[in-house]
Chain length 458, copies 2
């Protein structure tokens, strides 16, 4: 790394932290309409910084009524060099329960080398380190080592679709060789981590209808079909007690992680007992035999029930056999499972196992494939190298069992693989009271992203 | 039946109907606190009639704050004759949805020989015919053929406990040889019917707890136990797809109906296809093989799921694995199953089949045994005879799959068997818009109860 850039980052630590505090004071909660003015303020705050540092065509892109704006900026004056699309989000989760915060969520406070505020790590701290890393090049060299596009959204916490719509409608503008997604965390403190895979998701509503109207269980129980009993039966036939999903053909395309990936997961400091007792707080883990916990979480598909609608759920006793009941059921997918094929296998199987007297209907609420980036790619290699230089430790690879939908969108519409490089820590209290960001990781994040850009420009 | 009594009933038809219309105009809805004054008015209306006709010690018995009063009256001047406790209720269900009523629910209207109003058949019409039947004796003979106690409650539609508390506290006052419960219906029009049995009920909440807090299904799905999946598994092990309840020992004490009862059920005009398609509106009936539908409804125990609490039930998709979920599960009991024994077998079995990682806990919300009256008893014989005299058809016996809790209370605390003699029809729209009472059944009900009292006095 150039000495001047490193010196600049070092000399401006206080200023960078101060800028982040300003951004954290804006309560840009995307779920609550009364915070729409704050959403706009946060977008403008970032657009102003991007414009003033030297990015070109900086725009706040407004969507339809009710959508939150995208912040876009580009600098494309490095011909022959790769183009990196940098992603983050400026919206935050609601802060309740407020009384569990030690200091108010939108009055950032520093304690024990951490900054406590809603959005500290998810994702304002990480967005801001991206901005500051890029700014360093303008300040010291007057230019960037590669072409850069920023795309920062304000709907990540509400699952908004504006960013997807915009990418689909503007693939030429957003075209990039790779994306840098800074919204994840280290596997453990001081352990530089790249996330190389996400599970996909098919989320469904399974409705079971029995009678034309609700029935009294005294008068009809013993002869009338019960849709809740039917759903229980269907769910049991979807997944066995051993965690095996029983839909015929479900595992057909499941691709195993590479031997190198599996070997690296084995080296991760993962304590199964702590995970079970402290992190989850239960007495036994479940899932498929023959796979480690991390494999089950990251590289095996699952099926989960999230809730049942219908029937009586109030206090006390009501002896109703509901006419209709709906279960929310999702499946997590891994490479190379195809969502549409899984949906079709699922529908066919549910139809087959629907008990007599019951009509089932399936609605698909969302579907996305899994995404993985090869650990051999130059993008991952550069990310790993940059992390190692700053943290003085070999970068580890992990995956995530959840989804970051935009990673799939980048892959599908821009053909751009994502480097998921995040500086959060496992105990950062994402989406919870006392969310924090470890200040040394904020500074080292700036430096890592600077080195990453330099490496890509070489 | 004495000619003078018969003539009196005949001569006063219009007056009796007019009295019922007055009672129906009082909107004594027990679930809605704003109708408490109407509850009081309805109680006073009945107390006044009972007092004026010649009953003694007529009282409106007030309960605790929030409880609705009992109307009590007695006439015990027939030494050596049996004592009959006459039960009914003056409270009614709410009337909504109001726009589905042809005429307003509390402005009784007469169409096609029916009286349309909320409470017409459930239970004001039936309470009033009891009062008028007894009044006839005072008017014609100045005395009653047997000893009579009236106990009329105002909390039947809310499952209130005042009547039970009062009976338990005053068994000597309420002592009777038998009870007459007039809150049921004929099996079919023009088919005089006595109800000789009710199923009991054990209503439970089964809570399954997995983790210490809700989990994200992406991050934990595949390793963390899911309490909703566990409940589905437990429910499947409680009842098989063939309707057989799998709790060991569950059927041990189940007593078969007598051969005479079974034979009489076979003669009932029951159309299984109509029951399935029109009444329930489904495509298949369920339940235990080897038993007719009526046997399954009336003389076989069942287990039903009524609802699930916990998890995500709103619109759209939320990928949560809830920490805890609760299923409402009830069991209908038949003679001679003992509720406490069933609860203990159920708890033991659930504990055994609870999957790893899950803690289950069971709360019992209510429990009551089944009750049957022998078709050979003198009370049933007199009821059947009275019905046959008036309707000119052999009385049929049926049971009900539901519960009338007060029947159990009479049995348990007063040792009094109940004659469940009701004059409703299957299409009377109980608890629904356009509730009705067939006017000829109102008049014939008065006459039948008169004859019943006469027969008991012989």
């Amino acid at each position: 790394m150039s000495t001047s850039l490193f010196d600049y980052y070092e000399a401006n630590k206080e200023k960078h932290l101060d800028g982040l505090l300003q951004l954290l004071r804006i309560p840009s909660i995307s779920t609550l309409a009364e915070h729409n003015p704050d959403i706009q303020r946060a977008a403008e705050f970032l657009a102003t910084e991007l414009r003033e540092m030297g990015m070109k065509t900086v725009e706040i892109i407004q969507g339809k009524e009710g959508q939150h704006p995208l912040v876009y900026a580009e600098w494309l004056e490095a011909p022959g060099k790769p183009t990196l699309l940098i992603y983050g989000h400026y919206d935050v989760q609601p802060a309740d329960p407020l009384d569990e915060w030690t200091t108010p969520p939108f009055e950032p406070a520093i304690r024990n080398n951490n900054i406590y505020a809603r959005g500290a790590v998810d994702d304002k701290g990480q967005v801001y380190l991206l901005v500051k890393a890029v700014e360093g090049f303008f300040k010291t060299e007057g230019k960037l080592p590669i072409n850069v596009k920023f795309l920062i959204e304000g709907e990540e916490e509400v699952g908004g679709e504006f960013i997807d719509e915009y990418i689909m409608a503007n693939p030429d503008r957003l075209k990039a060789d790779a994306a840098l997604v800074c919204d994840t965390e280290f596997f453990a403190p001081e352990l530089p981590t790249l996330n190389t895979g996400l599970r996909g998701l098919v989320y469904t509503e399974l409705e079971a209808r029995a009678a034309a109207h609700d029935l009294h269980s005294g008068m009809y129980g013993g002869a009338a079909p019960n849709p809740m009993q039917a759903l229980a039966e269907i769910i049991n036939k979807l997944k066995g007690p051993d965690g095996k999903i029983l839909i015929p053909g479900f595992y057909k395309r499941v691709k195993k992680p590479t031997a190198a990936e599996l070997a690296s997961w084995k080296r991760l400091p993962f304590n199964e007992k702590n995970f079970m007792k402290k992190e989850i707080g239960t007495t036994a883990l479940v899932g498929e035999r023959g796979f480690s916990v991390l494999e089950r979480l990251w590289s095996r598909p699952t099926l989960e029930v999230h809730g049942f609608r219908g029937g009586f759920t109030g206090e006390g006793a009501k002896t109703v056999i509901p006419a209709v009941s709906t279960a929310k059921i999702s499946m997590r997918l891994v490479p190379d499972m195809k969502p549409n094929e899984i949906i079709s296998l699922y529908k066919k199987y549910v139809k087959k196992i629907t008990p007599p007297g019951i009509k089932t209907q399936i609605r698909i609420l969302s579907s996305a494939p899994a995404s993985v980036v090869s650990t051999d790619s130059r993008w991952i290699a550069a990310g790993a190298e940059a992390l190692e230089q700053v943290f003085n430790k070999k970068t580890v690879y992990m995956r995530s069992g959840g989804s970051i939908p935009v990673v799939g969108t980048f892959q599908k519409y821009l053909k751009a693989p994502s480097v998921m490089m995040g500086f959060g820590l496992p105990d950062d209290n994402l989406h919870a009271p006392n969310e924090k960001f470890h200040i040394p990781n904020f500074y080292r994040g700036i430096e890592t992203v600077g080195r990453f850009l330099e490496l890509l420009g070489q």
